[in-house]
């Protein structure tokens, strides 16, 4: 009798198996490799994509952008719009409503107080919040009731989806971060390294710049998700090893940002364990020109700040010549192949925002030389120019350690030397360069160099926050704990005015015009930012990982809850 029961049970269990497919934690373990190791899990204290992505598994915003750039509600019930009354007719307020019954991973309920607190946390006047641009123009954020949050803007805000939307503005728990406001923010190590969240996973072990272990969040809102019980996010190494580990050896399921030469990637795909997928978004590889002087002889705290303008890069002629000397199509051919397109714009997508300027596409060394000659930069006996004041035109050109970037450096160095600008190259380990540590002299925010190259993008489909990040007050400086995204230290009053105007304009066509103007002001007209390549994101995906959707408009790990194992 007993045996029969057991067997019946076994048969029943076998019959149930397909249904159990959708059970939380049924698919075991998933391995993700990021060759830039996350150093913090608080996106408000770091601008690095790796940190944003690693934290996106744990903390979530009210809504995210999907692979097409469409907004979809996450913690919110719906996306507030003018039509459903969530956005007021005067465009000055947006009212979000949380889903009911949401729990933090520690079991406590998610309330509007947490959302209000998140806003306070980032907008605290003493704290250098890395995502402050998302909160541009916010007057106040208040809780209407336990589940309703009203964000009011100082002026009409045609794109009110800055706060709490997308990977850069997730909701953090008030109880955990209450003591971490303002200047104390970087000191809350436990909270910054292990935020309590609402996402599909929660952190079990965080080793900065190394490995993060996650497990399925027992309080996740969808009881059948995530399919994976545990996740390891391994950081560090290099893009080659990461690509190999997914496409050739199959040790990892997902490898992020495979910035590798096209022939290298194609060769690895022959391994047969995975494939490289690419998608174009707003990611632009660019050269940022330092408008300020990074001379090591200047006192610490004044280097690379507005106090000391750059001796020659502050002249638009020099920057224009440097941009003209670059052969962008060739860079794409060598570094990216199918995964890149030459661009002259900081905003390469969506289509309505593209400026359409293409004069930078053809290299013109002779023209560049002429500009410099006419501007009075005479060549010395060794062919290197100097300014009228006698400053030798020598630039320190830094970037992160990466084979493609080093090739770009070598090429661009040669072109710039042809126009009489001496170039010193420097490469810095990516985890340091993008690490955001205010104590390190080698971060891209500190910018202790004359030009530097990296890639950046905006999340979502609206570039307003991205454009607003280049205003004068967002330059990294000691007072902002070296946070801020105006890396070039651009300071044009008309630009700031146009950004403010953009903030008040509701009509999409007019907005597009403004964005194009802003884009040209910093790129095609002034060359303070020299865009090089519109980069597709290339991700290595194992053939056994299902449900992964490459998203260029939000965090790349945005839908980790839906991943499953292909058996």
């Amino acid at each position: 009798m007993k045996l029969k029961t057991l067997m019946l049970g076994a048969v029943a269990a076998a019959a149930m198996a397909p249904a159990a497919f959708a059970e939380r934690g049924s698919d075991g373990h998933v391995n993700v490799i990021y060759w830039q190791a996350p150093s913090i899990l608080n996106p408000y204290l770091s601008g690095g994509t790796k940190d944003l992505d690693a934290s996106a598994l744990v903390i979530e915003p009210l809504g995210r952008y999907d692979q097409d750039g469409t907004m979809i509600p996450y913690l919110a019930e719906t996306i507030p719009t003018l039509d459903n009354g969530g956005v007021s007719a005067d465009l000055k307020t947006i009212t979000w409503k949380l889903k009911s019954g949401l729990l933090w991973s520690d079991g406590s309920p998610v309330t509007s107080a947490d959302v209000v607190f998140t806003g306070e946390y980032c907008m605290h006047p003493e704290g250098g919040c890395a995502q402050l641009a998302k909160f541009e123009g916010v007057e106040k954020i208040e809780a209407v009731d336990d589940l309703t949050i009203k964000v009011s803007f100082k002026e009409a805000k045609p794109n009110p989806y800055g706060p709490f939307m997308g990977a850069q503005a997730p909701i953090i728990q008030k109880a955990q971060f209450a003591e971490c406001l303002g200047a104390k923010a970087p000191e809350c190590t436990t909270a910054n390294f292990g935020p309590i969240g609402t996402g599909a996973f929660r952190v079990t072990d965080f080793r900065p710049n190394d490995v993060i272990s996650y497990e399925a969040n027992p309080n996740y809102r969808d009881a059948s998700k995530p399919a994976f019980a545990t996740m390891t996010l391994k950081g560090g190494g290099d893009a080659t090893a990461a690509a190999r580990s997914v496409m050739e050896t199959g040790e990892f399921d997902l490898a992020w940002n495979l910035q590798l030469a096209p022939d290298v990637l194609a060769n690895m795909a022959k391994g047969g364990k995975g494939e490289a997928r690419s998608g174009f978004g707003s990611l632009v590889e660019r050269i940022m020109v330092n408008m300020t002087n990074a001379d090591p002889s200047l006192p610490e705290g004044e280097r690379s700040t507005a106090k000391h303008p750059h001796p020659f890069l502050s002249d638009a002629n020099v920057r224009k010549a440097m941009s003209m000397a670059i052969d962008r199509p060739l860079l794409v051919e060598i570094g990216y192949g199918q995964a890149g397109r030459p661009t002259c714009d900081l905003v390469p997508a969506p289509a309505i925002y593209i400026s359409g300027r293409t004069e930078c596409m053809t290299q013109d060394i002779a023209g560049a030389n002429k500009i410099l000659d006419d501007a009075g930069y005479a060549r010395g006996s060794d062919g290197i120019r100097s300014t009228k004041e006698g400053v030798r035109m020598k630039v320190l050109y830094q970037t992160s350690t990466n084979a493609v970037r080093q090739d770009f450096q070598a090429l661009i160095k040669q072109w710039w030397e042809e126009i009489g600008i001496e170039v010193e190259l420097r490469n810095i380990s990516a985890s340091v360069f993008f690490g955001g540590d205010p104590g390190s002299p080698d971060t891209f925010q500190k910018f202790y160099a004359d030009v530097q190259m990296y890639a950046n993008n905006f999340d979502g489909t609206d570039p307003e926050a991205y454009m607003a990040a280049q205003t004068c007050d967002k330059a990294p400086r000691p007072e902002s704990q070296w946070q801020g995204e105006n890396i070039s230290r651009i300071c044009i009053p008309e630009y700031d005015a146009k950004v403010a105007e953009l903030g008040k304009t509701g009509d999409l066509a007019q907005r597009a015009e403004l964005v194009k103007e802003l884009n040209n002001m910093v790129t095609n007209d002034s060359h303070m930012i020299i865009p090089l390549v519109d980069r597709g994101r290339v991700t290595g995906v194992s053939n056994t990982l299902g449900g992964y959707i490459l998203n260029t408009w939000d965090s790349e790990l945005w839908n980790a809850a839906d991943w499953y194992r292909i058996k």
Partner: protein
């Protein structure tokens, strides 16, 4: 036979005869001399600029115009190998000279002056217990910028790397020299020299130092090999010279991505490093045998 007993034999001739009989050392010496000659004289004959990007000639296999082929940017591999070798070998020789000077001085002083023995040997132990690579990384982070500012990026890095390798690899020499000095100090000829009033200064330079040359020479040759490898390791980690400045370690590092498609690009610098280190090691082996009077002649 009669010659040997009648005319006084030249000591260096004996050394040479002994050295010559060690086939490995002889071959090692010739190979090393050839490598040094190639990398230092070669660029006068093969005048292509190692950093010149020739974009139409990317990834070329070896041919008459590019005997070692070209890299992914069309830079000539032969020119890069020679430029890289010049740096790697210069780093090796200079760092070795620094380490030997430091090590011999510390060893001589510690062995000869009793009151200096304790502090100097404890210092040696402190240095010996420091892990080399992390220490180098810290030094690179701390001093790269000031040195690059003072001497230019290439010279600055050269000084930094030579200095870093030099001050972290003198300890073995110091211990060996101290041991030899301690033994020598009790020998009769030293006693005799002392009894006629030889000063400490003269004693060290005239009587002790020439007798410890053999262990110093051996440490020196081994030190060159170690320094070349350490520089390669630093370049391999991307922490050595600027990225456009070829060294053997950097060439190896750059070629790793292309290992499958263009294996020769990893092999050239790999072979050069191995060959140099191996030949120098054999050379050191032979020198030790040749310079040791007790082995010599057997």
């Amino acid at each position: 036979m009669t010659d040997a007993s009648s005319a006084p034999r030249n000591q260096w001739l004996d050394v040479w005869l002994q050295f010559k009989s060690h086939k490995g050392a002889l071959v090692g010496g010739i190979v090393f001399a050839l490598i040094v000659l190639t990398v230092f004289v070669g660029p006068w004959i093969w005048t292509i600029d190692p950093t010149h990007v020739e974009i139409r000639a990317r990834n070329k296999p070896p041919s008459l115009s590019y005997p070692f082929g070209t890299d992914q940017l069309g830079r000539d591999m032969l020119a890069r190998m020679m430029a890289g070798g010049r740096v790697s070998i210069s780093v090796g020789l200079t760092a070795m000279a620094l380490a030997i000077t430091l090590g011999s001085s510390v060893g001589l002083l510690a062995g000869y002056f009793k009151r200096l023995d304790w502090p100097l040997m404890r210092l040696t132990e402190v240095f010996q217990s420091l892990p080399l690579l992390p220490l180098l990384l810290v030094m690179v982070t701390l001093f790269r910028e000031p040195l690059a500012g003072a001497f230019g990026p290439e010279k600055g890095t050269f000084i930094l790397i030579v200095g870093a390798i030099g001050v972290t690899s003198w300890m073995a020499t110091a211990r060996i020299v101290r041991g030899s000095v301690l033994a020598l100090k009790e020998r009769e000829f030293v006693l005799a020299a002392r009894s006629i009033g030889t000063s400490d200064h003269k004693m060290i330079l005239r009587h002790i130092l020439p007798n410890v040359v053999s262990p110093i020479m051996v440490s020196a040759t081994l030190g060159i090999a170690a320094a070349i490898i350490t520089e390669s390791a630093l370049s391999f980690l991307g922490l050595g010279f600027p990225p456009d400045f070829p060294t053997w370690g950097r060439l190896l590092y750059d070629a790793v991505d292309y290992m499958q498609q263009y294996p020769s690009r990893v092999m050239w610098p790999g072979i050069a490093i191995s060959l140099t280190v191996l030949s120098v090691n054999y050379l050191g082996d032979g020198l030790r045998d040749a310079l040791d009077p007790r082995i010599r002649g057997r």
